[in-house]
C-alpha cells in the first residue's frame, strides 16, 4: 500500500497505525483534562445555583436568550460542517476540505461576534461584575455571583473557540494551498474532536445559563 507509506512516521513509532492510534488517544486524554478544567467551574456553578436558586433564576432572566440560542445553532451547524470536513479529508478531497474548514472557522467567528455583541449589551446594562455592577433584584449580591460565573465560564469557552478558529484557519490554508493532509487525515480528525468538544461545552452552558427557571 504505497498510499499508507507516504505518511511520515516518527522514529519512536513502528508504523502508521501505531502513530495514528497514539495521536488519537493523546487527543482524547487532552479532552479529558479539558473536561476536568471546565468541571471545576461547573461545580462552582452547581453549588451556588443550589445555594441561591432564586437569586440565580432572577439573574439569568437578564441574559439575552435570543443571542444565546442563535449562538447554539451557529455552533451546532459549525460542528456539522466540521464533520463533513473530516469526511472530505479521509477521501483526500483537499479543495472541499479547505472550503469546509473555512466555513467552520467563519461560523466560529460569527459565534464570537454574537457573543461580543451580547457582552457589549451586558456592559451597557451594568451586568459586568465590579464597581459599576447594578441589578434590580431581591438579592443583588448573589445575582452578581451569577454574573461572575457567567462571565468566567463563557469567557473561558470563548477563549477555546478563539483557539479553535485560529487552528482551523491555519489547517484550512494548509489543505487548500499545500495539500498537506493527503493520505494523512489524522490531524484533521483530531482537530474535529477538539471542535466538537468546544461545541458540547456550549451545549451544556446554554441551558445552565439561559434556560433554567427562566419562566417560573
Amino acid at each position: 500500500m504505497p498510499d499508507v507509506l507516504a505518511v511520515p512516521i516518527e522514529h519512536q513509532f513502528d508504523d502508521a497505525t501505531q502513530q495514528r492510534e497514539a495521536a488519537t488517544m493523546g487527543m482524547w486524554l487532552f479532552i479529558a483534562t479539558e473536561i476536568l478544567l471546565f468541571g471545576g467551574m461547573f461545580l462552582g456553578y452547581t453549588a451556588y445555583r443550589h445555594a441561591y436558586p432564586s437569586a440565580f433564576a432572577e439573574a439569568s432572566r437578564h441574559t439575552l436568550i435570543a443571542f444565546g440560542g442563535t449562538n447554539t445553532a451557529v455552533l451546532l451547524i459549525s460542528s456539522t460542517v466540521m464533520a463533513f470536513a473530516v469526511r472530505a479529508a479521509s477521501q483526500n478531497r483537499r479543495k472541499l476540505l479547505g472550503l469546509l474548514l473555512f466555513v467552520t472557522a467563519s461560523l466560529g467567528v460569527l459565534f464570537l461576534v454574537i457573543k461580543g455583541l451580547e457582552y457589549a449589551h451586558e456592559i451597557n446594562e451594568h451586568l459586568l461584575p465590579g464597581r459599576a455592577f447594578h441589578i434590580d433584584a431581591a438579592d443583588p449580591q448573589h445575582a452578581e455571583l451569577f454574573f461572575y460565573i457567567y462571565w468566567l465560564m463563557t469567557g473561558v469557552h470563548a477563549l477555546h473557540v478563539t483557539i479553535g478558529v485560529v487552528l482551523i484557519t491555519f489547517f484550512a490554508f494548509r489543505a487548500w494551498f499545500r495539500d498537506a493532509f493527503r493520505n494523512h487525515d489524522t490531524p484533521i480528525e483530531l482537530l474535529g474532536l477538539y471542535w466538537h468538544f468546544v461545541d458540547i461545552v456550549w451545549v451544556f452552558l446554554f441551558p445552565l445559563i439561559y434556560m433554567i427557571d427562566r419562566h417560573s
Partner: protein, 552 residues
C-alpha cells in the same frame, strides 16, 4: 500492531552505536533533546536544585524551633519559610521526582520502546516545569508568600501580602508540564509496549507510573482552574470564594483538596513502584501476589479521588460528609496494606541481600507503614478534632512523603544509577548514608508525633517551653538528615568519573532495561525485544545455592 512491530524492526543499523550520553556533547544538544533519557537527566538536575531550595527553608525553620522564643526570624518570615518549603517540595520536587526522572528514563526502556509516544511534548513538559519554577523562584526572591502551600481563601485572595499571583502562576504552568507528562506516559504505556509484553507482564513500576499519570491528567486541571479563580479574585475581585462578596471559601477547599489529596498518591505511588522492583530483585524472589499488587495500585488511584474531605473535618463541612469521607479514607488504606503485606510476603524465604537500594526499600516499607497507620488516626473523626493542625499531622505526612517517597526516589536512583550513568556508586559509603538518612529521619519526625499528640500546633515559630526538649531532638535529627542527603550528592557525582564500570546488569536483575547496554544507546535497544514471560523471574533457591558455593 504488535505483529507489525516484528516486521518493521529489522532495519539495517550500525552495530556499535554511541550511548545516549555520547550522542551530542553540546549544551544545545541537551537543551533541544527529545531523547527521554536526556530529558530525565534535565529533570534530575532541576529537581535536585529545587530540593535544596526547599531544604534550605526547612533548615531555617528547624533552627528557629530550637528555642521556644521567636528569636531567629520574625513570625512573618517564618510564614514565608513554611510556604516556600511546602510549595517547592510538593510541586517542584515530590510530584515530579520519580515520574519525571526515573519514569522518563525507564518507561520506554521497561516496555521495550525507542522513546515515549510524544518526544517533543516531553521536552515541552520540562520547559513548562522550568518556567513554572522560574515564577516560583521570582516570587520567593521578591518577597515570598505567606499563605502556606494550600493558598486558603479569602486570606490568599484578599488579605495576604506578597506575590501570591506569581507563585500561583508558577504552579499553574508547572501543572501543565505535569499534565503533559502524564498524558505522554499513558499513551506510551498503552500503545508502545514491545510484542508479548501484556498488561500482566508489566513491571510493577509501570503500573504505578500508569496510575500516577491518570491522577496527574485528571486532577491537575482542577488545581489549575482553582488557582486561576483564586488569582482572578485577588487581581480583579471576582468573588467566587470570598464570603464578603457572596462566595464560599469552602468551595475553594473542596476544589483544592480534590486535587491535593490525589496528589498525595502522585507523590507515593511511584515510590511504591520502585520498592516493588527492588524487593523482588534483592530477595531474589517472584513478587508475591503480583496481580493483587497491580489491582491495589489502580484501586489506590480510584479511591484516592474520593477522600479529599478528610482534610476538612473541622472546616464546617457537613458532619455526614465527614463521616462518609472518614469511612472512605479507611477504605483507601486497604489496598495500601495489601501492598505492604505483599512486599513482606515476597521477602519471606527470599535470598535477601542488603545492598544500598534494598536498605532504602526496607526503610520505605517500615516508614510508610508508620505513616499509613497514623493516617488512620487522622481519618478518624473524633481523633482528628484533637490532633488537627498539630505536629501530629506534620509527622504523619512526612513519614509518607519523606520516609516514603524520598527513600523510594533515592533507592531507585541507586538501583538504576549504573544503568543511567554506566558507573557503580561506592557501596559502603552509600550504605552509610542510607542508614544515616533512616536514623536522622526518625529522630527528626518521631518526636513530632509526640509533640502533636501533646498539642503543639503547626505553623508557629513560638511554642510553650515544655516542648523544647523534643524540638531539640527534632532539630538534631534534621542535621543528621541533612548530612545523609549531602553524602549521596557528593559520591554520586564522584562516581561519574571514578566509579567502577557497571556493565549492562550489575544486579542480575530481570526487566528489559537490563538487557541493553549501560548507558543505553539513543534508540535504547539494538532491535525491538520480544517478551515471553512475566516480570521478576528470580529463583531464590538457586540464588542461595550460589551464595553457598561462594560465587555471588
Amino acid at each position: 500492531m504488535t505483529t507489525a512491530t516484528l516486521q518493521a524492526a529489522p532495519q539495517p543499523r550500525p552495530l556499535t552505536k554511541p550511548t545516549y550520553l555520547a550522542d551530542g556533547k553540546t549544551i544545545r544538544s541537551w537543551l533541544l533533546t527529545t531523547d527521554h533519557k536526556r530529558i530525565a537527566i534535565l529533570y534530575m538536575i532541576s529537581i535536585t536544585l529545587f530540593f535544596f531550595i526547599g531544604g534550605a527553608a526547612a533548615t531555617m525553620m528547624r533552627l528557629e524551633l530550637l528555642t521556644p522564643q521567636g528569636d531567629l526570624v520574625t513570625s512573618e518570615t517564618y510564614n514565608k519559610l513554611f510556604t516556600i518549603h511546602g510549595v517547592v517540595m510538593v510541586w517542584f520536587f515530590l510530584i515530579p521526582s520519580i515520574p519525571t526522572v526515573l519514569g522518563n528514563f525507564l518507561v520506554p526502556l521497561m516496555i521495550g520502546a525507542r522513546d515515549v509516544a510524544f518526544p517533543k511534548l516531553n521536552l515541552a513538559s520540562w520547559y513548562l516545569f522550568m518556567a513554572g519554577g522560574a515564577f516560583a523562584v521570582f516570587s520567593i526572591i521578591t518577597g515570598g508568600v505567606d499563605t502556606g502551600w494550600t493558598f486558603y481563601t479569602p486570606y490568599s485572595s484578599t488579605y495576604a501580602n506578597g506575590h501570591v499571583i506569581a507563585m500561583a502562576t508558577g504552579i499553574f504552568i508547572a501543572g501543565f508540564g505535569s499534565i503533559a507528562t502524564g498524558l505522554n506516559f499513558i499513551v506510551t504505556i498503552h500503545k508502545m509496549r514491545a510484542p508479548g509484553l501484556t498488561w500482566f507482564r508489566l513491571p510493577m513500576f509501570i503500573w504505578t507510573i500508569y496510575t500516577t499519570s491518570l491522577i496527574l491528567v485528571l486532577a491537575t486541571p482542577v488545581l489549575a482552574i482553582t488557582l486561576t479563580l483564586m488569582a482572578l479574585e485577588r487581581a480583579f475581585g471576582v468573588g467566587i470564594f470570598n464570603p464578603a462578596m457572596g462566595g464560599d471559601p469552602l468551595l475553594f477547599q473542596h476544589l483544592f483538596w480534590f486535587y491535593s489529596h490525589p496528589a498525595v498518591y502522585i507523590m507515593i505511588l511511584p515510590g511504591m513502584g520502585v520498592v516493588s522492583e527492588l524487593i523482588p530483585c534483592f530477595a531474589r524472589k517472584q513478587m508475591f501476589g503480583y496481580r493483587f499488587v497491580a489491582y491495589a495500585t489502580v484501586a489506590i488511584g480510584v479511591f484516592g479521588f474520593l477522600v479529599w474531605g478528610h482534610h476538612m473535618f473541622v472546616s464546617s463541612q457537613s458532619i455526614y460528609a465527614g463521616m462518609i469521607f472518614s469511612i472512605l479514607s479507611f477504605a483507601v488504606s486497604v489496598p495500601s496494606a495489601i501492598k505492604v503485606f505483599n512486599w513482606t510476603a515476597t521477602l519471606y524465604k527470599g535470598s535477601i541481600r542488603f545492598q544500598t537500594p534494598m536498605l532504602y526499600a526496607l526503610g520505605f516499607v517500615g516508614l510508610f507503614t508508620i505513616g499509613g497507620l497514623t493516617g488512620l488516626f487522622l481519618a478518624c473523626l473524633a481523633v482528628d478534632v484533637h490532633v488537627h493542625d498539630t505536629y501530629f499531622v506534620i509527622a504523619h505526612f512526612h513519614y509518607i512523603m519523606v520516609g516514603g517517597m524520598v527513600m523510594g526516589y533515592l533507592g531507585g536512583l541507586h538501583f538504576w544509577w549504573p544503568k543511567i550513568t554506566g558507573r557503580l556508586y561506592p557501596e559502603r559509603l552509600a550504605k552509610l548514608s542510607a542508614v544515616t538518612i533512616f536514623l536522622g529521619f526518625n529522630l527528626t519526625f518521631f518526636p513530632q508525633f509526640i509533640l502533636g499528640y501533646l498539642g503543639m500546633p503547626r505553623r508557629y515559630p513560638v511554642y510553650a517551653p515544655e516542648f523544647q526538649v523534643l524540638n531539640v531532638f527534632s532539630t538534631a535529627g534534621a542535621s543528621i538528615l541533612a548530612v545523609g542527603y549531602v553524602l549521596p550528592l557528593a559520591y554520586l557525582l564522584w562516581s561519574l568519573r571514578w566509579g567502577r564500570v557497571a556493565g549492562p546488569n550489575p544486579w542480575q536483575a530481570t526487566g528489559l532495561e537490563w538487557t541493553t547496554s549501560s548507558p543505553p544507546p539513543t534508540d535504547n535497544f539494538e532491535k525491538t525485544p520480544i517478551v515471553t514471560e512475566g516480570p521478576y523471574a528470580y529463583d531464590a533457591q538457586a540464588a542461595e545455592a550460589e551464595l553457598e558455593a561462594g560465587h555471588a
